[in-house]
Amino acid sequence: MSPSSGRMPAPREPVVRVTGLTKRFGATLALDRADLSLRHGTVHALVGGNGCGKSTTIKVLAGVHRADGGRIEIAGTTWDAVDYDARAGRSAGLRFVHQDLGLFGDLSIAENFAFDAGYPTGLAKRIRWPALIRRVRGLLHAYEIDADPQTPVGALRPAQRTLVAICRALQDQEADQHLVLVLDEPTATLPQHESDALLTAIRRRADHGQTVLLVSHRMPEVLSVCDDFTVFRDGRTVATLLDRTPTEQELVAHMTGTVLARTIDETVTPGALAEHPPLELPTAPPPPAPADDADPETVLSVRGLSGGPLRGVDLVVRRGEVVGVAGLVGSGRSSLLRTVFGQHRPDTGTVVVRDGAGRRHDGGDTRSRMSAGVAYVPEDRGGEAVFADLTVRDNLSVAVHRQYWGPWGMDARAESVDAAALVGRYGVRTASVEVPLAALSGGNQQKVVLARWLRRSPSLLLLDEPTQGVDVMSRADIYATVREAVGGGCAVLVASSDLLELCSLCDRVVVLQAGRVTAEVSGAQLTPDTLTALTQTTTAEPAAAPAAAVPGASR
């Protein structure tokens, strides 16, 4: 059985201790001697900006990645991190609930539990349904989940679904055995009131003696629920705060490293931070002047845009300007781009686009947006941008088919010549234009998608995570391509979770929080640290509006 069984850790005694954890991906050092220590019966927050190494740590603990160095100690058993694997973590009592909960929505709660732990069977492998349902009902009761075991998981509210996943992960916990629950961004896609409900429930589990490691980007949440805090930056532990709730500014200051050196510091006092004023954060931008609309340089003008996660976005993008959109998952980053492209119809608000000839267009679907000169490179390349089994030539000409059509059909020769020219111009590495796109690497596929749109000479280019899953070389090519288009007068709106990318590519970055523009940064202020601080601190009051706009009954 598990090594942790039979041994009851004393309250607040460390149950998980990770020391000197190092993990290298090629030339990048994702974890650089990071430390993490969880005390029994506490909720421990692991926080940090993008790429700080917290996801890597979770993946090492889950056995997805194997560390290059360090020690991992769980409930008295110690591993060299190099020898640690998924099985070791499980037998030592680590249980993971990822952002994708891995539940089967059409099946009942009881069956979801059974897929994890196995069905209780009787004679001739017959499933003993009453036994299963009785056991699951007991578990749900113990975890204070108000649902019947036979309810389909899809019928539950989002917070309840997460709780069911947590309960399932911990279902084999015996009375004398203490599992450690690792929650990876559990509230990222939940609306405010749902995540409140979930956090309350997590807090209650901790008060019952459950040890929880919580990874989250939402500062108010971790502050409201966590006992201890570990802050990562650049793969190192920069702060460990035990039994003390810091202020939001203090945590963000640790994340961005403006105050503290990169050393483990267990004795941070609030006063030490007050001497160093945190980053001067710009406040909400002044509303754009009304004259902007008539200005011929204004390519995109968004006013009071609401719908989906968006709650009144105002935005102006001018000719030859690159504007970035930063924000956490669920902030409405992608929805903004999709709405501008006419894929979502807004509830209220206007989107006015000026085409290359200076005419203004408002409203309309994807096709009318395209004819207004808008181009859109979606985030999900495989699912929404490429035609993997069609040739490179087909993928390049799919948005301009009509220009090759004459009385004698499609002009295949002109199409091939143009495709070859585009492949050369945008540096696509392919054996020929007649090769299926699937044969190209991710970076080259993305170049093809970009070329497909740029050949239309768009007046507004929308990019959603333009370099996701793209190798370093292609990334540089893509940046150069975007800059070239901008040089030609194209306006670009780019949404990205890569803050460094936003800083290097954009003239200006707007920060979205809960569907609103809460800040705008440009010039010298445009640094990854400023953006980290702005995306993660609450400058707006997101609770009121979403709670009113998303009635719980409809979920």
């Binding site: 993997a388 948005a399 088919h401 009509r402 080259n444």
Partner: protein, 348 residues
């Protein structure tokens, strides 16, 4: 999966690294591609040559009479196979096309026989029925997102039942305009007239699928409907149009079948549908491997009919024909899957 060449594994690799193996791969890839594209045609020629030399069939197989009968009999299957590839290219099955053709046959005959309608009106009604059925199928599948497999299977069963009701289970023989049967049996320059109809439809469809923005859009939808919507292709409308066109062609198949047979039996169209499906999937392994296409489909029909005719003339029993059709369908689907690009099956 890459069939024609090896993908550049790392784009960041140096130029020298990947310039060495490529010429070899490419030449081999080109040969493989060529062999793949024309394997079915070569196989058909080989089968035809075999039956022309094989003693039991050698005196009757390679004659112009046999060729004429063969083409005339396969005209309806060929037309139906062409109808099938339209929704298949979009990624949808339409199993109701056989039943649509049967219903069109019965309606055309019935209108002339029971209601004394003129030939032109009856034929228009038959084709119009096909268009209407296609429109309903298309609406159910594209607008309401129902599964095409089940929807069209339901429609096929429904139409089969209606055919039984309309004819009372009897074959309609009397009261048909003789000009129709005449058209079905006469030849022009030694080739049955119905074959010209097939040729015209095939050329039109080939132009539509390979040489219009609409056709290119249809292939894009079959490849990735979500991407297609995001490059401004009207996905629902295009898919619906393929159902309507397929229905219309199936209606025409019904009229051709009536012209060939000179009578309308209470049939559910399955005997027509399955060979046509086999031909369509065989066609997807040829000319443009991995994609349903018009020339490939025609080659597929000819391959099946040449083989079956040869077998029959060599004295093989009646059961040989369905066995051969079934076996070639299995092989065709297997080959399409091996090529890894058949989307028809993946959407079911």
């Amino acid at each position: 999966m890459s069939v024609t060449h090896s993908p550049p594994a790392q784009t960041s690799s140096s130029v020298a690294e990947d310039s060495t193996p490529r010429p070899v791969t490419r030449r081999r890839g080109r040969f493989r591609g060529l062999a793949e594209r024309h394997a079915l045609l070569v196989l058909m020629v080989a089968v035809a040559a075999f039956f022309s030399l094989f003693p039991p069939s050698a005196d009757r197989f390679p004659t112009s009479e046999n060729l004429s009968v063969l083409m005339g009999n396969q005209a309806t299957v060929a037309l139906l196979a062409l109808a099938l590839i339209l929704p298949l290219t979009c990624g949808y099955f339409d199993f109701s096309l056989g039943a649509t053709a049967a219903a069109s046959t019965v309606l055309t005959a019935g209108l002339m026989s029971f209601h004394d309608l003129p030939l032109g009106l009856a034929v228009s009604a038959g084709i119009g029925l096909g268009v209407a059925v296609g429109a309903v199928n298309g609406l159910l599948v594209t607008r309401w997102g129902l599964n095409s497999f089940v929807t069209t299977l339901g429609m096929a069963t429904l139409l089969g039942g209606l055919v039984q009701w309309y004819t009372g289970g009897q074959t309609i023989l009397a009261g048909l305009d003789p000009r129709l049967a005449q058209f079905g049996s006469e030849e022009l320059f030694g080739i049955p007239q119905v074959v010209y109809v097939v040729a015209v439809v095939a050329v039109l469809l080939w132009y539509l699928l390979s040489h219009t923005p609409f056709g290119r859009g249809v292939y894009a939808i079959g490849s990735n409907p979500r991407s297609a919507a995001l490059v401004g292709i009207r996905v629902q409308r295009s898919a619906w149009t393929t159902f309507v066109l397929a229905g219309g062609i199936a209606g025409l198949v019904g009229v051709m079948a009536l012209a060939r047979a000179g009578s309308a039996s209470a049939d559910n169209g399955t005997s027509l549908l399955f060979p046509a499906l086999a031909a369509a999937f065989l066609g997807a392994t040829s000319v443009r491997p991995g994609f349903f296409n018009v020339p490939g489909t025609i080659i597929g029909v000819l391959f099946v009919s040449v083989a079956v005719s040869g077998l029959t003339l060599s004295g093989a029993s009646a059961w040989v024909s369905p066995v051969f059709n079934g076996a070639s369908l299995l092989v065709a689907v297997g080959l399409s899957h091996y090529l890894g690009r058949s989307r028809g099956a993946s959407t079911a």
